[in-house]
């Protein structure tokens, strides 16, 4: 079974600074997707960024980028120029693309990000 590990329960960053959230995963498969979701106090899970395992190029979405190291099974999220609105719980998630699998997302336990002035 696949597992996703987020070893940082909480992180703090000053406004306008850069922060990196860590995520590692365990899988024996070669085809999969990785996602970062954000959950603000409003509770809704919002997709931040996704990465296809077969792509070597790291995904980027505006101030958000990932460092995907397939061999190391590492998928960290970098937030540049942090804003107060970035404060939220961040979840790393894995989905297998193997035929016949459940197509479900497996989530890590999350990292709570605080943004300070």
């Amino acid at each position: 079974a696949q597992t996703v590990t987020q070893s940082q329960p909480e992180m703090s960053v000053q406004e306008a600074e850069t922060v990196t959230l860590s995520c590692t995963y365990d899988t024996s498969e070669s085809d999969y997707y990785l996602f970062w979701y954000k959950q603000p106090p409003s509770r809704q899970m919002i997709l931040v960024i996704r990465q296809e395992a077969y792509k070597q190029q790291n995904a980027t979405e505006n101030r958000f980028s990932v460092n995907f190291q397939k061999a190391a099974k590492s998928f960290s999220l970098k937030i540049s120029d942090s804003q107060l609105g970035d404060a939220a719980m961040y979840f790393c998630a894995y989905r297998s693309e193997k035929t016949g699998t459940a197509s479900k997302l497996t989530f890590g336990t999350g990292t709570r990000l605080q943004v300070t002035l």
Binding site: Y33, F35, Y37, S42, R43, Q44, M45, I46, L47, R50, E52, F91, E97, A102, S103, K104, L105, T106, F107, G108, T109, G110
Partner: protein, 115 residues
């Protein structure tokens, strides 16, 4: 485009009762997923419905059940409620038309409290 909608927002039940949670997916989405998010824990996969059929379920007892209607909306039923069922229940939908890389879109959840 309207997002995934869940009702009710909050639900308070007593131990032993039954709870029914509802979810309407984004228009055009045929797959619906249910997740349980207990306090301090990550999201645990509960159920996956696609085209009206239950495709997979997570490691939860049979008193957690559900169904998907012809309009692709879904219902999660929890029977014989226990205190540890208190959690945020999130529904998500996905369109198979976008290919396997399409992300899940989540609703705001139903907060279930069992007293």
């Amino acid at each position: 485009e309207a997002g995934v909608t869940q009702s009710p927002t909050h639900l308070i039940k007593t131990r032993g009762q039954q709870a029914t949670l509802r979810c309407s997916p984004i228009s055009g989405h045929t797959s619906v997923y249910w997740y349980q998010q207990a306090l301090g824990l990550g999201l645990q996969f509960l159920l996956w419905y696609d085209e009206g059929e239950e495709r997979n379920r997570g490691n939860f007892p049979p008193r957690f059940s559900g169904r998907q209607f012809p309009n692709y909306s879904s219902e999660l039923n929890v029977n014989a409620l226990e205190l540890e069922d208190s959690a945020l229940y999130l529904c998500a939908s996905r369109s198979g038309l976008q290919g396997s890389g399409s992300p899940l879109h989540f609703g705001n959840g139903t907060r279930l409290t069992v007293t």
